[in-house]
């Protein structure tokens, strides 16, 4: 393939990524609990030839204060694997990436679940590995306890290796060996006997081998250990970058690390988030954006900002003043830095930062015409800032529908995005290397 194509993910979220999306007059407020809504949105992504849809996750309601929790549509959601299993058998080509934590699950159960998703979808499953940082999640698994940053990653490293071993436990053609008198060819089974620091696993998965070898591994970690884990094990890395320079620095950093693990530059796709608000004209796009911003209650926006900064509360500070100095935390260090930098660079007040983050939650936001959005994407794609993008539509289904009808044809016309799927598996469409046959 001489032409390099960008990869596209559709990051789905209930009625939209915008925190107030559910209040929009067009919004189907119960979208987050409506399977028919999700299947319809996944089919829009598939019509747009997206590589994948992506579902985030937290094993908790993310807000401790019930009054604030009750104002956020994100408070409740489908468990991601259950959701994607349902979507898998109602779509045919689009990849299905679910977030799952290594801190509150164990390798056998999780590897088994992703193997099932991979079989149900004919080889379209992906796992976004996260290590879970929030106290609210930890309290739902209090016997496990919250681990400091370094130990969470140590556990994640071992978890990923154990999961890979389980997926490699069954070779192709294990069931019904040719001319055989047995149900399964035992010479093609490789039972796992894993006895590590964090896990003991003895067994095999009762599943055929994945049609794509193994599920695709996705990560979003932006700390040093996170980037190393991604460089060693991931096929795709998501990232939150505001400016092109930040995105280029991140891209170069992650790609440089691949060499350490003997991997090629194309073996890991860097796909930062983009929050596009598309209109037929620039004015129409801006009007769409303003209409959404109006629905953000300040209390909700500021609480969300506080959670990204990993601080308890910002209500003691004036809304129209700057951010106070932040203590170092062992939680999501990278996101905190990004917000502090943005606030200083653009001289934004707490209210302005809160609204800004409520819209795109720290991701890159582009408001404009189809060709303006395509320009912005193409520039970062060609200038070493991205292999593709994780598209975060502000509203579903209309925001994704706009992108698929208006922006995708523009990207195709410019020759930077596929017109047809290359194959039926996510691995084939992403164009990342297949693992050995196990």
């Amino acid at each position: 393939m001489s032409e390099r194509h960008m990869k596209l993910g559709a990051f789905l979220m209930a009625g939209g990524h915008h925190i107030a999306a559910w209040r929009h007059p067009d919004a189907h407020a119960p979208a987050g609990s409506d399977i028919d809504h999700f299947i319809a949105v996944a089919r829009i992504a598939e019509r747009g030839k997206f590589d994948m849809i992506f579902i985030e996750d937290a094993a908790a309601i993310r807000e401790r204060n019930p009054d604030l929790a009750s104002q956020a549509a994100r408070s409740t959601a489908f468990e991601p694997l259950s959701l994607l299993a349902a979507i898998a058998v109602n779509t045919s080509h689009v990849g299905l990436v679910a977030t799952a934590s290594t801190s509150y699950t164990e390798p056998y159960g999780l590897a088994r679940s992703f193997a099932a998703l991979d079989q149900l979808s004919g080889g379209r499953a992906g796992w976004n590995l996260v290590t879970s940082a929030s106290e609210l999640e930890a309290e739902n698994f209090a016997s496990s306890g919250l681990r400091p940053h370094s130990q969470r990653y140590e556990r994640a490293e071992e978890f990923a290796d154990a999961a890979l071993a389980l997926w490699d436990g069954v070779e192709d053609g294990t069931y019904f060996p040719a001319g055989g008198e047995t149900f399964a060819d035992h010479s093609k089974l490789h039972p796992v006997h894993w006895h590590g620091k964090h896990f003991a696993v003895d067994g095999i998965l009762e599943s055929q081998r994945s049609p794509q070898g193994r599920p695709i591994m996705v990560q979003a970690g932006a700390s040093d250990v996170g980037k190393d884990l991604a460089a060693r094990t991931a096929d795709v890395v998501f990232a939150a970058s505001q400016t092109k320079a930040e995105a280029q620095a991140y891209y170069a950093d992650v790609k440089l690390r691949l060499g350490k693990y003997g991997r090629g530059q194309d073996d890991l796709k860097v796909m930062p988030g983009i929050s596009p608000i598309v209109g037929a004209t620039e004015e129409e796009a801006k009007a769409k954006y303003r209409a959404l911003q109006e629905f953000i209650p300040d209390a909700v926006g500021v609480a969300l900002l506080a959670s990204y900064l990993s601080v308890q509360d910002l209500s003691a500070y004036p809304l129209d003043g700057p951010l106070p100095e932040m203590p170092q935390t062992n939680l999501i260090q990278s996101r905190q830095q990004l917000i502090v930098d943005l606030g200083k660079r653009e001289g934004l007040s707490i209210r302005e930062l809160a609204r800004h983050f409520a819209g795109a939650r720290g991701h890159w936001q582009v408001v404009g015409t189809p060709s303006q959005v395509a320009d912005a994407m193409e520039e970062r794609f060609l200038d070493g800032a991205a292999d593709g993008f994780n598209v975060m539509a502000p509203l579903f289904p209309s925001g994704l529908e706009d992108f698929v009808t208006l922006v995708v044809p523009e990207l195709q016309r410019r020759g930077v995005f596929r017109k047809e799927y290359e194959g039926r598996t996510l691995r084939r469409n992403l164009g990342v290397a297949s693992p050995s046959k196990g």
């Binding site: 559910w22 058998v89 164990e106 193997a115 095999i204 009762e206």
Partner: protein, 350 residues
């Protein structure tokens, strides 16, 4: 008469695969075909029993469905839209918060047709008891009418109708609330498989009781014991449904009877006979044992088809199977919607 269908790729007979050597039988489409046929025949639920929580160490079984059952259930639910789906999950293999989410999500995907076959820890009955209570409390995180979606006021749910479990027990500590909406049927249906041994947890919490015995005498004994245990736990007979495992070997005619004559190595009461004979025996057994119905464990795909094609219509002619229009599994089973503890005045927090 309630009817359940226990799903396997080839049938419950460990040798059944030799008569259907086709890898496609292991795939989703073939499994869906079986479920759709059971649904069309009027079955109330499909059972995904999953080796009952036993993980394979170095072998693959032709009797096990090669999919993690809760996810297979979710996929099936979108393509078969009337039948209930009961999936096994072990309390030893999932954190309670994760399991509560899986089944709450499955209940949303299936629009209220989910059931959890509780596979409790082998070792410690205390943990199993506490675990089911935690899951139930998490399912009660929101009252039935909590979600108001008030766009003008910016209020997604009524915070006074959200309940935080704050569970701190001998085995488990789980704060809550669950981050999934209230189930369309209140809570997923709790099922238990009962043979011998400790039935206290099933008697206290079970709703769909799946009885497994190899003989009629054994079945009568288990059913009587369970009814006593349920009542001893302070519940009514009408709070539970008793359903027995049956292995039907359907002969095409009286002449063909006993051609095989094998006793199959399957846990359940084997019934050999013509469709009329099997219908007679099911009817007698239900009356004699005070059962509401049966879970069918077809020894082979062919026997499953014969049961659906020949025995079910015979049961229909006898008026034993109504045309069921109920939407949720709970309604199909005739079980009452659980009253949320907040509405009944009970303390919600553990």
């Amino acid at each position: 008469m309630l009817l359940g269908y226990s799903l396997t790729p080839f049938g419950h007979d460990p040798d059944a695969w030799t008569k259907a050597r086709d890898r496609r039988r292991l795939g989703f489409d073939a499994l869906l075909d079986q479920v759709a046929a059971a649904e069309a025949a009027g079955f109330d639920f499909v059972l995904l029993a999953d080796r009952l929580g036993v993980r394979p160490v170095d072998d693959l079984s032709s009797v096990a469905v090669p999919f993690e059952p809760t996810l297979l259930a979710s996929a099936l639910a979108t393509r078969a839209d009337r039948i209930g789906i009961v999936a096994a999950a072990s309390t030893a293999q999932h954190e309670p918060y994760n399991l509560a989410r899986r089944f709450a999500s499955l209940d949303l995907v299936s629009k209220g047709r989910a059931g959890w076959l509780v596979v409790p820890d082998d070792g410690d009955a205390g943990r199993g008891n506490e675990y089911v209570d935690v899951v139930t409390a998490l399912w009660d995180s929101f009252e039935d009418d909590a979600f108001i979606y008030d766009k003008a006021a910016g209020r997604f749910f009524d915070p006074s109708k959200m309940h935080v479990a704050h569970h701190q027990g001998a085995y488990l500590a789980v704060r809550g609330p669950l981050n999934v909406n209230r189930s369309p049927q209140g809570r997923p249906v709790l099922a238990h498989l009962l043979e011998e041994g400790d039935d206290a947890l099933a008697a206290r919490t079970g709703e769909l009781l799946l009885l497994q015995a190899d003989t009629v005498e054994g079945l009568v004994a288990i059913a009587a014991r369970m009814i006593r245990s349920v009542e001893a736990a302070g519940r009514r007979r009408s709070d539970v449904r008793l359903v027995a495992n049956i292995v039907p070997v359907v002969a095409e005619s009286e002449q063909a009877l006993g051609e095989d004559g094998r006793i199959l190595p399957i846990a359940g009461i084997q019934m050999d006979g013509t469709p009329e004979m099997i219908a007679d025996r099911l009817q007698e057994l239900a009356t004699a044992t005070d059962l509401e119905g049966f879970t069918i464990l077809p020894p082979s795909l062919e026997m499953g088809q014969r049961f659906l094609g020949d025995v079910v219509p015979e049961l229909g002619r006898r008026g034993l199977i109504g045309s069921r229009r109920q939407e949720t599994l709970r309604d199909r089973l005739g079980l009452a919607q659980p009253v949320h503890p907040a509405a009944s005045g009970k303390e919600v927090s553990a």
